[in-house]
């Protein structure tokens, strides 16, 4: 039987952590793009669009991410596609992230004073012009800290993709545990790697928030 040193374990986990980082980036960027679309629908003037966006957000925030992963995995399969785990993981995580980001951003858009809408409307701007030139530039500023904060949730959420068989940090932890029979050490190290990924994000979100509050107080 092969002996595993702590370094062997750590090296394997770190190699797998690359996939956690990649999937997090894909989910966050993809979710951000879909999230903007949902945000526009959620704040649109047409009632139908607003309803659709509301239902989308309720559905994805009100059901477990694990179920969404299962449904993406088996649902895409039903359409006759041969679904690799990374595809189902990516699709489910992008849709899930979009629901949360659009809801966070809606709060930021609604925090912009109503007079800004009225003023830009009185200048003859259409909805997209208002968003582009007046509302979003201001909303963006308050949106940064909670958005960075939510990226922590995305990194942690990628751990669920191990359950549908995507090999990232958590799956590697299980595999290495099965090979070494050292669950305490392995899952401890896995937790520490996640911590090393997430903690800087949490901390910077806090710092950004504090800075923003200072800016607000000076107004």
């Amino acid at each position: 039987m092969t002996e595993f040193t702590t370094w062997d374990i750590l090296r394997n986990l770190l190699l797998a952590a690359r996939w956690t980082i990649l999937l997090s980036l894909v989910s966050f960027i993809g979710g951000g793009l879909v999230g903007v679309a949902i945000l526009f629908m959620r704040t649109a003037r047409a009632k139908g669009l607003r309803r659709f966006a509301w239902a989308y957000i309720e559905l994805f925030q009100g059901t477990p991410l694990l179920m969404q992963l299962f449904l993406a995995f088996f649902g895409l399969g039903l359409l006759g596609l041969d679904v690799p785990a990374w595809l189902a993981a990516g699709v489910a995580l992008i849709l899930w992230t979009a629901a949360f980001l659009s809801e966070i951003w809606r709060g930021c858009v609604e925090a912009i004073h109503k007079g800004q809408w009225e003023a830009s409307s009185s200048l003859g701007m259409g909805y997209f012009q208002q968003m582009r030139h007046v509302i979003l530039p201001q909303a963006l500023k308050i949106a940064v800290p909670p958005t960075v904060g939510f990226s922590v949730q995305v990194v942690k959420a990628t751990s669920l993709t191990s359950i549908i068989g995507f090999v990232e940090l958590s799956k590697a932890g299980t595999v290495v545990t099965n090979a070494t029979f050292l669950p305490f050490t392995v899952y401890g190290l896995v937790a520490l790697i996640y911590f090393a990924l997430c903690w800087p994000l949490s901390k910077s979100s806090q710092i950004l928030e504090r800075r923003l509050n200072v800016a607000h107080r000076n107004h």
């Binding site: 179920m67 969404q68 959420a157 359950i163 545990t177 305490f184 949490s202």
Partner: protein, 221 residues
């Protein structure tokens, strides 16, 4: 593509049993988790500094690692320290530890929003610090943050789906079992997802009701 829900009648009892376990997990997790969170919030906001530091480390560790890994650590890792837990005990413990950390931060925000005059008024009535906390500070603090706390409990309910991975027989475990029998994975998970949605909506309403019962004085804001 044709969907088939004919299996539903046969397997409804299995789903129902899973729902029961999931509800039991969230009930125990929420009750003890919020109690733990309250104690931790006291330690961070008002307790001795050394205790506050320890609690801060606990909170940061839990909030920056996935629930799945916490669960695996409790179930697979702790036995090597001599703490052997059943699947349900491990699931319960992991949920308590998880909610404890999140609710600590939420409740702490409520405590820190309490005006200084409240503490002073309590002290001037010859109350000891813990009495002030228990009788003067805590209830209004909880009332302020109750919506945020409720959302966190719903998040823990949805997160509890992963306890099926250590073979705790919750709703997701039931779904996994059923789809291994009827080979109708998509339909099974659709039904299970809708049940989770209904549970989440019901839990939100229930927590709103608890809020009305816990905080009868509306003016306290």
């Amino acid at each position: 593509m044709r969907l088939d829900f004919g299996w539903l009648a046969e397997y409804a009892p299995v789903l129902l049993k899973g729902v029961g376990i999931t509800l039991q997990l969230i009930a125990v997790g929420a009750l003890i988790g919020i109690a733990l969170g309250t104690a931790c919030a006291w330690a961070r906001a008002l307790g001795p500094r050394w205790l506050g530091r320890i609690v801060a480390v606990y909170v940061e560790l839990i909030r920056n690692t996935p629930f799945l890994i916490q669960l695996f650590f409790v179930f697979f890792g702790l036995p090597s320290l001599g703490l052997q837990l059943s699947e349900l005990q491990a699931a319960n413990l992991a949920m308590i530890i998880n909610l404890g950390a999140y609710s600590c931060e939420i409740i702490r925000a409520g405590i820190q929003a309490t005006p200084r005059g409240q503490f002073e008024a309590g002290a001037s009535l010859a109350m000891k610090p813990l009495q002030v906390f228990r009788h003067v500070v805590l209830i209004p603090a909880l009332q302020k943050i109750w919506p945020a706390l409720s959302s966190q409990v719903v998040i823990v309910l949805l997160g509890s789906a992963v306890v099926s991975q250590i073979a705790a027989e919750d709703l997701t475990f039931a779904a996994n079992f059923i789809q291994s029998r009827n080979f109708r994975a998509f339909e099974t998970y659709i039904v299970t997802t809708l049940i989770y949605l209904a549970l989440a909506l019901a839990l939100r309403q229930a927590l709103r009701g608890v809020g009305w019962w816990l905080f009868p004085i509306r003016a306290l804001r």
